[in-house]
């Protein structure tokens, strides 16, 4: 009898415990879920938060621009408007079929989706880089042979591999199609073939294009909103956008000094230190000397920061005044690219040799190592799931461009007679 009573008590206790467990489990099930399915609240040290803020677009509000040092028309709506028209104008090419937008396509984050442009038939052709945020780089082209957007545009306009026009051709086209806009900004177009005057007008065309391209800044991405939520001292009442567990794991790998080490070169709000690094990425010839030649060319470029066409005070041309050159470290070194908007900018690397981001990350795990080569990276030795986490984090940097949509479309075309070049 006593045993029966004891059994009953045990059953009762067991039932109560079971019910409590069910209740607790139920509470967990019906508890408010995190905002996005598998989101996670990660804990960060004050030092890590300072680091994350340094990577975020909201850190100081405006992104720094190097374009305005040399281009006095940066920020001019009229110059940007003329630049916008020129950017999309296929008449600005010898074939009549190529505009800046042919290779820098707005829907591909201003790249072209190709390993390299089809017209680039030189020994070591290079991939088209994005223009979003390019004004914040002190160097343009993969080897940094130009130090402004306008000087970069001028080289492309003259290059037979791109637009293939002479300076006189360009001035002639502007005279025919854009005279009122040009003269309202820059004064009278050259009345003769005087080379100094033509060069000045040619420069102004580049500066108008530069003024437009400088407007192409990245919009805040999921990562930026996440960082803003970490450093916000006054809750806005808006739901905090959390990163997923996988994305946070990738972010932790990204900033880890001993694991990913990505932060070493991919730092700052555009995820680049604007340096030139050699990581032995294969190209199509194995002969591309990269920054070693690019530094020399930047110094010789008549349209550089120190040149006659620059608006800069000499003292502000620090990048050029203290340029690193003639150093073996620069051989086959290429510009560290931004990591924003990567989903639209495949294929990757200076030679466009990797079709996918996972290919890029696999390469960092096992980079090509040759005897006596200077190599700026070490094999990461990451597990496949860690590479996937890194890739997931990189996708949180997707945002497109922070500009009204009409600037991303060709402006209304004018009716003009076909331009014929000799």
């Amino acid at each position: 009898m006593q045993s029966d009573q004891s059994n009953s008590i045990h059953w009762l206790l067991a039932s109560i415990i079971f019910l409590l467990l069910v209740l607790l489990a139920g509470l967990k099930v019906i508890a408010p879920a995190p905002i996005s399915g598998e989101s996670e609240v990660a804990t960060w040290s004050p030092e890590e938060i300072a680091l994350l803020r340094s990577l975020s677009l909201q850190r100081d509000g405006e992104l720094p621009s190097y374009e305005g040092r040399t281009n006095e028309y940066e920020g001019s709506a009229a110059a940007a408007s003329l630049g916008h028209q020129l950017f999309f104008d296929t008449d600005l090419s010898r074939t009549g079929a190529t505009s800046c937008a042919s290779c820098h396509q707005p829907d591909k984050a201003f790249t072209d989706g190709l390993a390299h442009p089809a017209t680039h038939v030189q020994a070591a052709p290079r991939n088209t880089p994005t223009l979003i945020g390019a004004a914040s780089s002190p160097w343009q082209f993969w080897d940094g042979r130009s130090d402004s957007l306008w000087a970069q545009a001028l080289e492309a306009l003259e290059s037979p591999l791109d637009h293939g026009l002479s300076r006189s051709d360009i001035v002639s086209l502007v005279s025919t199609k854009y005279r009122p806009e040009y003269e309202a900004l820059f004064g009278e177009l050259p009345a003769s073939d005087d080379s100094a005057e033509v060069d000045r007008a040619f420069t102004n065309v580049g500066k108008a294009i530069g003024a437009y391209v400088a407007m192409l800044k990245p919009a805040p991405a999921k990562f930026d909103r996440y960082v803003a939520s970490l450093s916000s001292t006054e809750p806005s009442g808006e739901p905090v956008e959390l990163l997923t567990k996988t994305e946070i794991a990738g972010l932790k790998l990204f900033i880890s000094e001993d694991k990913g080490q990505c932060i070493s070169c991919h730092n700052g709000p555009l995820f680049t230190n604007n340096e030139f690094k050699s990581i032995n990425v294969p190209d199509f010839s194995g002969t591309d000397s990269g920054r070693l030649l690019g530094a020399e060319q930047a110094l010789r470029n008549p349209f550089n920061c120190l040149g006659n066409y620059s608006a800069a005070e000499k003292e502000s041309c620090g990048e050029l005044l203290y340029i690193k050159k003639d150093d073996p470290e620069l051989y086959a070194a290429f510009k560290v690219p931004t990591l924003r908007n990567l989903s639209s900018t495949a294929p990757y690397m200076h030679s466009g040799i990797f079709p996918s981001l996972s290919d890029v990350l696999k390469y960092y795990n096992h980079p090509l190592q040759r005897a006596n080569d200077h190599l700026d990276i070490v094999p990461l030795g990451m597990f496949p799931h860690e590479l996937q986490q890194l890739e997931a984090f990189l996708m949180t940097l997707e945002s497109g461009v922070d500009i009204a949509p009409e600037w991303l479309r060709p402006p209304n075309k004018r009716q003009v007679a076909m331009i014929e070049y000799e």
Partner: protein
Amino acid sequence: MKVVLIFVLWLVTLSGLIAGESLSDVSSGSERFYSSELDLQVEIGADEHFMAINRLQHWNVRLMRLDGSPVAIKALTFDGGMPAHRHGLPTTPQTSVSGATAQIKGIRFSMPGVWRLTLEMSTEGVDITLGLDADLKYGQPPDFQSADFKSEGLIEL
């Protein structure tokens, strides 16, 4: 009224501290290194961006005895790099000297991590080398992990 005034002053001070923190990489700064053996101290500093990551900066260097009396610098060379990453400086800094001071223009630290820096100073009768290991991290002041003085020649103590 007095309470309100104190509160306003407190708020102004607090906002100043916050602004100071967020703008820390544009502030001036300096650091001194001492050698009792050589009876020398070296001050390095910059008016802007001192030891900030990814900011071009120009350093002022002062060489002094421990009592603060100046020691003339005849020539100065500067070099550096990141041994862990096997690369040198990302720029080519230029140096000039004037009496007990020198200027190093065009320094940039393009990465967080430990930078090994070397200042070689020629003075009357002795060449002095100051080797520094500086660990740079975002949002933190530079951590000078070591400062080694070396000398060649006779020094007048």
